[in-house]
């Protein structure tokens, strides 16, 4: 099934929860309301002719100019060999999205990474801690307004240029 058909099915099932569909892009995607994401994912996973059984990638992008962080879900179906790309937009401050950990266990670590690097919170996540950065790190490094600290526990993060 191609992306347009999948998104039409989603529109029919969830109507206004599907904010917009970009079918012209290199990889077609649909923007979904945050509070519906778990239901949309379950629908995509459990419906016979959609059967998106795997979450191949989940990541976040900070669109600072537009004032939101976009979490991107790359779904794939091993059964039917098709993709479904979903996007959820959340405010940059205190953004919270329901966790899809209950749908795919892979989301556990992927969401921890998004929380760590972009500061998006995931509600009803079983273990939302930092994963890559140290636990006492301040800030979320992949945010566009992140300022790199000059030192961490007395260790300088910059060095003199060797080129003079």
């Amino acid at each position: 099934m191609d992306a347009t058909e999948i998104f039409e099915r989603l529109r029919a099932q969830f109507s206004d929860k599907i904010v917009s569909v970009d079918a012209e892009a290199v990889d077609p995607s649909a923007v979904v309301e945050g509070d519906a994401i778990v239901d949309v994912c379950k629908f995509l996973r459990d419906t016979e002719d959609l059967r998106c059984n795997v979450l191949t990638n989940q990541t976040g992008v900070d669109y600072k100019e537009d004032g939101y962080i976009e979490v991107v879900y790359h779904l794939y179906s091993y059964t039917h060999r098709h993709y479904a790309i979903l996007k959820v937009r959340t405010p940059r401050d205190q953004g919270t999205i329901p966790s899809v950990e209950s749908v795919w266990k892979a989301a556990n670590w992927l969401e921890r990474e998004i929380y760590d690097l972009l500061g998006v919170r995931f509600s009803s996540h079983s273990d939302l801690r930092r994963i890559l950065m140290p636990e006492d790190w301040v800030g979320h490094p992949l945010r566009k307004d992140f300022v790199e600290p000059t030192e961490y526990h007395g260790i300088s993060t910059t060095r003199e240029s060797l080129l003079r």
């Binding site: 059984n53 990638n57 790359h74 091993y78 266990k105 490094p141 992949l142």
Partner: protein, 384 residues
């Protein structure tokens, strides 16, 4: 009860219960193939939980991509997975080409596949060799590394580097194959195949090795898919899925090869032995692919004309590459400038690492080493 003829009184009450131990394995441990740590809760020799703690090798490669531009990022991708760097090169090349709409010349694609498959053999040899070493046998490790060294020589001749190749470019590859390369690679392949037979007799049929690997840490297909386990680990659980065959890219549609899956030949489908043996089988498939490549490679340029200041149109794209550690997914966002706005790579080891907490429950402490080795986890690829 009586002990040595004397009646003694034994208190079977409060003093005899065992305590749950908390052990740290790593961050420095020879079997972790890099720097990572497990916090193990053990009851005697039996693990209750093994919680992975990652991030020791986090080099913020995704953040670096936002500062160095599309061409400049290529050498950094080598460091995502330095055991199989060709695939990272290829992934970054492909996602940029998809964003910018660049087409790679046919000969360039063949050069990519030749380099990538050589790299796959060397990575699988490392995986297989170190798994046996971790389990306790040292000779097969030397056999595997002897062969791997020859591939390093071949790749060095191709691109000047033995580990971090930086061979591919956006739009193709950096250099054409050197003169006489075909003969050298074919000569290597001809002597590799008998070596694999020898290896089979020495290791795969070995009772001790089977005892340590068969039916240990079995992963069912459902669990594997839920955790997004990819590549050889997924196929060992019986899911016949290979990105090269099922979402074809590059020139793979023109090449014939089989996709082996786990059969449970020593124990159960999806056990550590299956994951090990699948890699041995994949080496043979890569040999097949390489032979065909040299028969089919056309003449022509190896790299497309790409502007030095590459500014792909605004938008996002994702591609998937079948790396040695499975489907490696690259996602890149362009804002129309010469620097990527965001780049994300989801690697096979990341998923493999996240499954350990679940599958290690109830295993023996010594089996944790088998689990890490059989999942072929390379720590830098987990952290990036």
């Amino acid at each position: 009860m009586s002990v040595a003829g004397f009646e003694v009184e034994v208190d079977r009450g409060s003093g005899l219960e065992t305590e749950e131990m908390t052990l740290n394995m790593g961050p420095q441990h020879p079997s972790t193939h890099g720097v990572l740590r497990f916090v193990v809760k053990a009851d005697g020799e039996v693990m209750r939980r093994a919680v992975p703690d990652i991030g020791y090798l986090h080099r913020s490669i995704e953040k670096i991509s936002e500062k160095v531009g599309y061409h400049g990022f290529m050498p950094y991708t080598d460091r995502v997975d330095y055991v199989a760097a060709m695939f990272c090169n290829q992934g970054w090349g492909m996602v940029t080409e998809k964003l910018a709409g660049i087409e790679v010349p046919k000969r360039g694609e063949y050069c990519r596949v030749i380099a990538a498959e050589l790299n796959r053999i060397s990575s699988h040899l490392l995986a297989v060799g170190t798994m046996i070493l971790d389990i306790g046998a040292i000779t097969p490790f030397f056999h595997a590394f002897r062969e791997r060294e020859k591939i390093n020589d071949l790749l060095e001749e191709l691109c000047g580097a033995r580990l971090t190749y930086n061979y591919m470019r956006v739009g193709g590859v950096a250099w054409d194959l050197p003169p006489g390369y075909e003969e050298k690679v074919l000569a290597f392949l001809n002597q590799l195949e008998p070596m694999l037979d020898e290896h089979y007799d020495l290791v795969s049929e070995n009772t001790l090795f089977r005892g340590r690997a068969a039916s240990v840490a079995t992963i069912s297909a459902e669990t594997a898919i839920s955790y997004n386990l990819v590549g050889p680990n997924l196929r060992a659980s019986g899911v016949r899925y290979d990105v090269r065959r099922d979402e074809p890219y590059s020139v793979y549609p023109e090449l014939e090869f089989d996709v082996p899956v786990g059969t449970g030949m020593a124990g159960e489908v999806g056990d550590s032995f299956d994951r090990y043996y699948l890699r041995v089988q994949e080496i043979r498939e890569s040999v097949k692919i390489l032979r065909q490549c040299f028969q089919q490679i056309p003449d022509g340029p190896v790299v497309a004309k790409v502007p030095r200041k590459l500014k792909p149109p605004a938008g996002d794209a994702q591609i998937r590459v079948e790396s040695a550690r499975g489907d490696m997914s690259w996602y890149a966002v362009s804002d129309g400038s010469e620097f990527p706005y965001r780049c994300k790579v989801r690697t096979g080891s990341f998923a493999a690492m996240s499954i350990i907490e679940e599958i290690s429950q109830g295993l023996m402490l010594a089996d944790l080493v088998t689990v890490i080795a059989s999942l072929d986890i390379v720590a830098p690829e987990v952290d990036r």
